[in-house]
């Protein structure tokens, strides 16, 4: 199965969002969009061109944007907010907490440029804490798709789901390997390969890194079960436990702080239900810096070689 997972070329996940927003806008006339002066970065032009009356430019005022979205949702619309992940979360945490999450508003918080792969803009913009902040909010769904096709499908799927959602995606061109006709199911883990030696649970851009690592390990005779956890909350506990009960050790991989990320969620689940050796590929209590995306992933321990090393360490601990 692993050898069938190949890249059909590179496209950014934010392009997937833009395509998904446009497509769902055509299907559902209650979908509206807001943006805080980052229309081009969020790839929202196609939606805006076709539905100018359903788009609201809010300027550089993210707090206000979250409140407006809560109001639009109150009146029955399905608002999608667009800005960078940093400004979609930390900058507006209290607005999301009170006006959206606590008030259970059907708002879709769509966050681009998440993580280190934002690149040259540096640590001010490279948020690595957003998943943690969002998953702590009661009732918030947290999704981090892995490629263009999955992001497009996820964008469309969240419009059909009632409740607040945090959708996280990124800036760089990235290998596309999810099928084009892929149907996104919120909260349902997506298994990429069957394996017997280790379970690798990966999310976002790191899913591709995990696939590459698994291919390398296969050549060494190590069999990896790679599972794409696109929905970090609610976590597909059954898929995790099923896989781990077979492989008996775990590696998690994500473009996020170790504190508060996917690894954290899986470790918590396993500690409660099935204690298992676990290694985490994540940023270890550090800010990022300027650089090229792949340079940054390597420097901060999120590269293919880091996943390979983590797998070997996990197997060693069985």
């Amino acid at each position: 199965m692993l050898e069938n997972i190949v890249s059909t070329g590179k496209k950014s996940t934010r392009d997937g969002f833009g395509a998904g927003l446009h497509a769902i806008g055509q299907q559902n006339d209650q979908v509206v969009a807001l943006c805080a002066d980052l229309v081009g970065s969020l790839k929202m032009q196609a939606f805006i061109k076709e539905f100018p009356e359903r788009f609201f430019q809010v300027g550089i005022a993210e707090a206000n944007m979250m409140g407006i979205a809560a109001g639009l949702a109150t009146a029955g619309k399905i608002p999608f907010t667009g800005t960078f992940a940093n400004f979609s979360t930390g900058r507006v945490y209290d607005q999301i907490r009170q006006s959206i999450a606590y008030s259970h508003k059907n708002v879709k918080i769509c966050a681009s440029h998440a993580g280190l792969t934002l690149g040259e803009d540096g640590a001010t913009h490279q948020i690595l804490e957003d998943v943690g902040m969002m998953k702590m909010l009661p009732g918030m769904t947290v999704i981090n798709p892995c490629d263009y096709n999955q992001t497009k499908a996820a964008t469309m799927a969240i419009a059909e789901h009632y409740g607040p959602v945090y959708l996280r995606f990124g800036r760089p061109g990235w290998p596309v390997f999810t099928p084009e006709d892929y149907k996104f199911e919120i909260g349902k883990a997506y298994q990429l390969s069957e394996g017997s030696d280790v379970s690798i649970f990966a999310t976002g851009h790191l899913v591709w890194i995990a696939v590459e690592a698994a291919k390398e390990l296969a050549a060494e005779g190590i069999s990896c079960e790679v599972i794409n956890i696109h929905t970090i909350k609610p976590l597909d506990e059954e898929a995790v436990l099923d896989s781990v009960s077979k492989t008996k050790c775990v590696v998690t991989a994500e473009e996020h702080q170790m504190h508060g990320g996917l690894g954290d969620s899986i470790a918590q689940l396993l500690a409660r239900k099935l204690p298992t050796p676990i290694e985490m590929v994540a940023v270890n209590d550090s800010f990022g810096e300027s650089g090229k995306p792949m340079q940054l992933l390597d420097k901060y321990g999120l590269g293919t070689s880091n996943v390979v090393a983590a797998v070997k360490a996990a197997i060693e601990r069985k």
Binding site: A63, N64, I68, A73, A75, Q98, S99, H104
Partner: protein
């Protein structure tokens, strides 16, 4: 023609409810609640077209948002007497397992509440969203918001004010409770608001002013605000009120912002406020 005397009688009962709720809960915010009682009574009993059977979306209704959520005892009393829920439930204010949370919330499903508030500065933003939706849906109804004056120190408020003018949200009618007080003292000492009229003018809003403790003036001004809607500009009413209005020893001081009256103070306060619609029973009997 509005029946001003009838509205005054309702406001008197609302003020009694505010004193009793905060007294029994031994917590809450009586000062600002008393000051805004005339405004909110006029809105729900004279100005707004609204349906107490309550649906969240409020389609084809005027809707109201309370941005300064700490004056919840006022909001709850007005909603109850307007028919959103039984006034008997006011006896549960701030209790465990109550729908009447310290600050308004949708979480427990209290009819009449459309968004949580209490963390300040968010109400005008939310109202902007609902007002936009009403325009998208071709409705001619209004969105009202009440905000405190101290609350204007929050930066988000000015983001929302700028947005409303830019997008010509002319079905939005904001009222500012200009009582000049906040928790730590008079606003002029804590953080001066400056010339509020000049500030709102600079943001290109339609501006009205009124004495928020004169029922006739409140009704007339709110009606004027509705008449001025639909002209390309959002509308603000700078509403002068006295914190604690109606209870002599609470009036004009920030000290009653967030302090509940004790038994003796409650007795003195209630003696100054006519019981017009009947006091709700306490304790709560279900």
């Amino acid at each position: 023609m509005a029946n001003i005397e009838k509205l005054k009688k309702i406001a008197s009962q609302v003020r009694r409810d505010i004193v009793r709720q905060t007294h029994y809960a031994a917590s809450g915010h009586p000062g600002g609640s008393l000051g805004c009682a005339d405004y909110l009574t006029a809105l729900y009993f004279e100005i707004m077209t609204h349906d107490p059977s309550f649906n969240m979306e409020g389609k084809n209704e005027d809707v109201f948002f309370l941005s300064n959520g700490h004056i919840s005892p006022l909001f709850y009393s007005v909603l109850a007497h307007a028919g959103y829920f039984d006034p008997k439930e006011l006896a549960t204010f701030r209790n465990i397992n109550s729908r009447l949370q310290g600050h308004p919330a949708t979480h427990e499903g209290l009819p009449g509440i459309r968004v949580a508030s209490g963390s300040l500065g968010q109400g005008i933003s939310v109202a902007n969203g609902v007002a936009l939706a009403k325009k998208l849906d071709g409705e001619d109804k209004h969105v009202f918001v009440l905000t405190g004056d101290g609350e204007l120190q929050e930066g988000q408020v000015w983001e929302a004010i700028m947005f409303a003018a830019h997008h010509k949200i002319d079905n939005l009618i904001v009222a500012v409770d200009r009582n000049g007080q906040q928790i730590d003292g008079p606003t002029k000492d804590v953080m001066s608001l400056g010339d509020l009229r000049a500030k709102w003018e600079a943001f290109d809003w339609e501006i009205l002013e009124m004495n928020g403790n004169d029922m006739e003036e409140v009704v007339n001004t709110l009606q004027e605000a509705k008449r001025k809607s639909g002209n390309g500009k959002p509308i603000v009413i700078l509403m002068d009120t006295e914190m604690g209005y109606g209870v002599d020893f609470m009036m004009g001081s920030h000290k009653w912002h967030g302090v509940a009256p004790n038994e003796e103070q409650t007795e003195i306060a209630l003696a100054q406020l006519e019981e017009t619609l009947g006091d709700y029973p306490y304790p709560y009997e279900g």
